[in-house]
């Protein structure tokens, strides 16, 4: 393994790392918003919308991200709607993640017995107070492990971005190997940068998880 070569490649990887991270986090943020909204709609069984979102969730949970990206990147222009590769990547991640997050949040809400919210209402709390102070915190504490798992899953899924010519980590590694055949160096850097991307999420995730869940589930 040639450290000099690795040093030389570093700037390219760093650039790809930040691109991957940026798209990854925008995607996750969007996924959380979509997922939360979808979970609430599904929970309240808002007519029509509830069914549409149900179909959306099944569609995106049961097709690979790669196929979704192809559809967005190569399919939409055929319909006269063309979008840039980074935007396409972020959008794909949001839609895929939204479907997963929706299910995670929903199972969290559903795990809270009706009597918990009835008790809050019996104490004179309004619907809004009950939701904010009882239902949400309890549901979130139940959903927390699934939520962290989803984030890690989504960040890993960014590795298919190269298929729509996004210069992410995977793309950079493949490109460099193709050009200079320094396979070992390139793959080592790839692993290291993915760890940079994911380890903080895992570690932070489990710390937050422990804090959020301590009250209810203990250490």
């Amino acid at each position: 393994m040639d450290l000099e070569v690795m040093k030389e490649y570093m700037p390219l990887y760093r650039e790809a790392f930040f691109l991957t991270m940026k798209i990854g986090w925008i995607g996750i943020l969007g996924a959380v918003i979509i997922g939360f909204a979808a979970a609430v709609v599904r929970l309240l069984k808002i007519p029509v919308l509830h069914r549409i979102l149900g179909a959306y969730i099944e569609l995106f949970r049961n097709t690979p991200l790669l196929v979704q990206l192809f559809f967005l990147y190569f399919g939409l222009p055929k319909l006269g709607l063309s979008i840039s590769a980074p935007f396409c990547g972020a959008l794909g991640l949001m839609l895929l993640g939204g479907a997963y997050m929706a299910e995670t949040f929903r199972s969290g809400f559903e795990a809270i017995p009706v009597l918990q919210t009835e008790t809050a209402r019996a104490l004179g709390m309004s619907k809004f107070q009950t939701t904010v102070h009882v239902l949400l915190p309890e549901a979130l504490s139940v959903s927390m492990p699934g939520f962290t798992a989803n984030m890690i899953f989504l960040l890993k899924e960014t590795s298919v971005f190269s298929a729509i010519s996004l210069m992410d980590l995977m793309f950079t590694a493949k490109d460099l190997i193709g050009l200079y055949f320094r396979t070992v160096e390139c793959l080592t850097l790839l692993v290291v940068f993915y760890l940079f991307l994911l380890l903080p999420v895992s570690i932070l995730g489990s710390i937050v998880e422990r804090r959020v869940r301590y009250a209810e589930f203990g250490a």
Partner: protein, 259 residues
């Protein structure tokens, strides 16, 4: 003559087609302890839930303090502050400490300052012997302790009437007593209470009046001694008989001769 605090007139409650409570009327005076007994599924829980509006009734009226509370115009959030309810499974909020469980509603609903709410919570906890548990989470408490906290949580809102729905039914036998003692204490203090229970000797001790429900209506009512010593209806007799055992007579060949 104590005033009528709660007046229930001809209420009917059904779930879809099934009628659960039919034409039920009942009055509770201020300071009275009313105990409701009756077989499982006869509508006792549903009845309590109708009183504080957790269930809506189809017919009839409910008055608290002379004010009709089952109207669309009635402010349920105001009404519920006057009605404390304690459930069979405690229903403490698992993400809140004991103290937070108690102060939450007074602070959010009645806008009490935190310090005042906590001070009051602590003195109530003291009364039920749990002040050393104020920073515990519900999962760290025994069933009996949880239920005493749930009672304190209801008391902290200064309700005019307390509803207890089989609050000892989920407890291990050795914990039943500590909860019943708290309730006896409240009764002695002159609180108005409606208690649903299967603890017959407790019912006899605490009740001013016993109401026997069956099939969604009141079948019989009277003082504890009237009801327990001299039940009038066959259904009440049959119900009471399920709580006692006749002495068994062993066949001769087994008597004093265990196998």
């Amino acid at each position: 003559m104590a005033k009528e605090l709660l007046k229930i007139e001809h209420i009917t409650k059904s779930f879809d087609e099934t009628v659960i409570l039919r034409d039920l009327s009942l009055t509770v005076k201020e300071g009275e302890v009313l105990v409701i007994v009756g077989p499982s599924g006869c509508g006792k829980s549903t009845f309590l839930r109708c009183i504080n509006g957790l269930e809506t009734i189809q017919e009839g009226s409910i008055y608290l303090d002379g004010e009709k509370i089952n109207d669309r115009s009635a402010n349920l959030e105001k009404v519920r502050q006057k009605i404390g309810m304690v459930f069979q499974n405690y229903e403490l909020f698992p993400h809140k400490t004991v103290l937070q469980n108690i102060t939450m509603a007074p602070m959010l609903v009645q806008k009490k300052p935190k310090a005042e709410a906590e001070k009051e919570a602590l003195s109530l906890l003291e009364r039920v012997g749990l002040s050393d548990r104020k920073n515990f989470y519900p999962r760290q408490l025994s069933g009996g302790q949880k239920q005493r906290v749930a009672i304190v949580r209801a008391l902290a809102m200064h309700p005019e009437i307390l509803l207890f729905d089989e609050v000892t039914a989920a407890l291990d036998p050795e914990m039943v007593r500590e909860v019943l003692d708290v309730m006896l204490d409240l009764a002695k203090e002159g609180r108005t209470m409606i208690v649903v229970t299967h603890e017959m000797s407790f019912a006899r001790a605490v009740a001013d009046r016993i109401v026997f429900m069956d099939g969604g209506n009141i079948v019989e009512e009277g003082t504890p001694s009237e009801f327990f010593d001299n039940p009038q209806t066959d259904r009440a007799k049959k119900f009471l008989s399920t709580f006692s055992f006749d002495r068994i007579e062993k066949k001769d060949e087994y008597a004093g001769n265990p196998i």
